[in-house]
């Protein structure tokens, strides 16, 4: 997927101007919030479950160097194969290599952020393979040659008329904007693809180390199809998806579905351990698990940033984020969006390529308040801002003037008199720097602020009023 994270400001501005998009996003987020709320209301002690979930992730990641080999051993014992990919290119090469060696022609895919992360579709298509996304939302987005805009609802940015026109154009069916009809059309088209495909590619929500089991959640059934019908199943997961035991999995699975859609369980949960066994009539002949690092071990090394890897991809944080609801998924410029996107895009991409994502946030904390594994997004956001501002390994180009202004501001911090005279000077300059007037001295950002809001006026400062005010107070403190 093309990285456009450096353009987040422009894309955000354009999206913010799109009133229709804003309304769609608000409605969608509102609906998901409502679903989650319904589930949470019936949930017994969510707070306790969140603490438990957090602890499971903490422990499993702290043990990751042991869990990964254990998972590998168990997958092998069940007849599967494990591949290790250090980066996106390696993951693409592994999967492409498998497809070539087995003479694969058609590929069906289950919804997977990982596949977006490594840019898998493009690589497979360039190699002459036919690749079909099979989650309805993903299928729509693929037909439109776009990218998903929401973890849970990839095509949330398109209305049914647009989808109707797209189906009529690309599938040659009669125009209908009835969601039932459109779904039936997709079912019919994709059913053939499932039956013809040689390879199914999925992600995975969890991998259970003690048994080598992959857990997959979905509501549609396309993942079941992709893992049942083709003769090869390839699952691509990030190394952080490993949990130790089924019991650990049980703690996280309820948090995942409740937070995502308010469901106690998604419609389907598939627990897959290895390929088809001797004598069985269905299932893939081969099961391949690709474990991708792609920057994760680096995130793991920082005790504060590590929590970014706890994410279950439930999407709850997107649905409460005011910024996401205004700018939508595409504006973030890479695979992940919303609060978790600000964190992951910055950390998974090579340093310096993440753009100003951690600044695309008002630090309102709504995300952290709902996150099922208690990721403190604002805290991580601030940590990343700090790294970008002060750590030479995380370059964020900054105009020298801003740097100088900041140093001056900090220098004045310990000099109350200087601090006050600086504000007195600003007060003096205010009339000539007034926006709208001869605004030559007003920084453009401030004058933009002043175009939409009345700028506050300089007043006689509190510190000067205090002596008079103090005399009016009844409960004066005697000077000691």
């Amino acid at each position: 997927m093309k990285v456009r994270t450096d353009r987040i400001k422009e894309m955000a501005a354009a999206a913010a101007a799109d009133q229709g998009l804003h309304q769609t996003l608000l409605a969608a987020a509102g609906r998901f919030r409502q679903l989650r709320q319904g589930g949470v209301a019936a949930f017994d002690d969510l707070e306790k479950a969140r603490d438990q979930g957090r602890r499971v992730k903490e422990r499993c990641l702290a043990e990751l160097d042991r869990l990964l080999p254990r998972l590998e051993k168990q997958v092998r014992a069940a007849g599967g194969r494990v591949h290790w990919a250090r980066d996106a290119a390696a993951a693409r090469a592994i999967i492409l290599g498998l497809a070539r060696a087995r003479g694969v022609k058609r590929v069906v895919k289950g919804k997977s952020m990982m596949s977006e992360e490594v840019g898998l579709n493009q690589a497979l298509e360039q190699d002459g393979l036919e690749v079909f996304e099979t989650d309805l939302g993903e299928y729509i987005v693929q037909l439109a040659q776009e990218s998903p805009s929401h973890i849970l609802a990839p095509a949330i940015h398109k209305n049914k008329q647009e989808i109707a026109a797209l189906f009529a154009d690309k599938l040659g069916v009669d125009y209908t904007d009835d969601p039932e009809e459109l779904t039936r059309i997709a079912r019919r088209v994709l059913r053939q693809k499932f039956l013809q495909a040689d390879m199914g590619i999925t992600g995975g929500n969890f991998a259970i180390a003690e048994s080598g089991t992959l857990a997959l959640f979905e509501n549609e059934g396309n993942i079941r199809m992709s893992t049942t019908l083709p003769r090869l199943h390839v699952a691509l997961i990030g190394i952080e998806k490993v949990v130790e035991t089924y019991r650990d999995f049980d703690v996280l699975r309820k948090l995942l579905t409740i937070s995502a859609t308010g469901q106690k369980l998604s419609t389907y949960l598939s627990l897959i351990t290895g390929p088809r066994r001797d004598g069985e009539l269905e299932g893939p002949d081969e099961f391949h698990l690709v474990l991708l690092d792609n920057g994760r071990s680096r995130i793991l090394a920082d005790p504060l940033l590590r929590q970014s890897l706890y994410c279950l991809r439930c999407g709850a944080c997107l649905n409460v984020c005011p910024v996401y609801q205004c700018i939508g998924g595409h504006s973030y410029g890479w695979v992940y969006s919303g609060p978790i996107g600000c964190l992951l895009n910055t950390q998974l991409l090579p340093r310096g390529q993440g753009g100003p994502a951690p600044f695309a946030c008002t630090l309102c904390g709504a995300c952290a308040a709902v996150c099922p594994v208690k990721i403190d997004h604002p805290k991580v956001m601030l940590h990343l801002r700090w790294l970008m501002a002060e750590d030479p390994a995380w370059p964020l180009p900054r105009p020298p003037a801003a740097r100088l202004g900041l140093s001056l501001y900090a220098w004045l911090a310990t000099r109350p008199a200087g601090f006050r005279s600086a504000s007195a000077l600003a007060r003096l300059l205010a009339p000539i720097a007034a926006p709208g007037g001869k605004a030559r001295l007003t920084p453009p950002a401030i004058s933009r602020w002043g175009r939409t809001r009345r700028l506050p006026r300089w007043q006689r400062p509190f510190s000067q009023r205090w002596p008079g005010l103090r005399r009016r107070l009844g409960n004066r403190e005697e000077p000691s």
């Binding site: 400001k9 501005a13 101007a17 804003h22 005011p322 910024v323 205004c326 700018i327 100003p356 600044f359 695309a360 008002t362 630090l363 309102c364 904390g365 709504a366 952290a368 601030l382 801002r385 700090w386 790294l387 970008m388 501002a389 002060e390 900041l406 140093s407 501001y409 900090a410 220098w411 004045l412 911090a413 310990t414 000099r415 109350p416 007060r427 950002a445 401030i446 933009r448 602020w449 939409t452 809001r453 009345r454 506050p456 006026r457 300089w458 007043q459 006689r460 400062p461 509190f462 510190s463 009023r465 205090w466 005010l469 009016r472 107070l473 009844g474 409960n475 004066r476 403190e477 005697e478």
Partner: protein
């Protein structure tokens, strides 16, 4: 004046008068001094002795939230020095309190001289309503302010400090004030400090949503415990010529007399 007992004396017979040091953030100092005055009046009326350490400058929030920790440490040390002797520090701005309470300790954790002071301070710095309700146990301050109001549940007060019930309880006790429901009361108003300058279009969109909700509520005033939200929301209301007023909780509690 009641003569305070010696530190360490039993306080059961004659309760020692509580003392607070006012922490007036820079926005209040220069642009909204009347909010600072109102806070002082309210604390005074609650029977608390109020002082104002004149050496105070700024909590350094802007520097911190744009990633500049080394600069912020200067602010933090200066703050701790200025308020070192304060029994309690109270401010009418949630975000500044959160800065001191939630971020100073980790910021100075490796500073052998200041780490302990930062930890201690986190336990005695309060947002105004938090101090009134949680520490003093007050709800009704005898204020009167007739009219329909909504409460903007500012992020830096409600989520950063966990203070949401307190200001609303205080408002409910204000004579003549009708507290209405605000749709999306705890949704961000779009300010976010430097965010509003870096992502102005997004900030404005969020602000418009907030203002629309306020206007739809039929309220005559929107009340908040966070100065920066008031600057943002109030600035928009004023610009569009809306009759709705943006008021700080302290102003409402002080009553109309405190308006300057």
């Amino acid at each position: 004046m009641i003569v305070t007992s010696q530190p360490g004396d039993a306080v059961s017979s004659s309760p020692k008068r509580r003392r607070v040091s006012l922490f007036i953030p820079c926005l209040v100092e220069d642009f909204f001094p009347e909010i600072g005055e109102a806070a002082a009046v309210v604390l005074d009326r609650a029977g608390v002795a109020v002082d104002y350490p004149e050496a105070q400058t700024c909590c350094g929030q802007l520097a911190y939230k744009t990633g500049h920790r080394s600069e912020t440490r200067r602010f933090a040390r200066h703050f701790l020095e200025t308020f070192a002797r304060a029994e309690a520090v109270v401010s009418p701005s949630g975000s500044c309190v959160s800065m001191v309470k939630n971020y100073y300790p980790s910021l100075l954790a490796d500073d052998s001289t200041w780490a302990q002071a930062a930890e201690d301070m986190a336990g005695r710095v309060f947002e105004l309503s938090q101090y009134l309700v949680d520490v003093l146990g007050l709800k009704d301050l005898g204020a009167s302010w007739p009219g329909r109001a909504v409460y903007h549940d500012s992020c830096q007060v409600s989520r950063a400090l966990g203070v949401s019930e307190q200001p609303q309880a205080l408002l409910r006790a204000v004579a003549g004030l009708e507290l209405r429901e605000l749709d999306g009361a705890d949704t961000c108003c779009g300010f976010g400090g430097a965010f509003s300058l870096q992502f102005p279009e997004v900030s404005e969109r969020l602000l418009d949503d907030k203002v629309a909700a306020i206007e739809a509520s039929g309220a005559e005033m929107v009340v908040s415990a966070e100065v920066s939200c008031l600057m943002n929301i109030g600035g928009r209301l004023a610009k569009t010529g809306s009759p709705v007023k943006a008021l700080h909780l302290a102003q409402v509690l002080a009553g109309k007399e405190a308006r300057s």
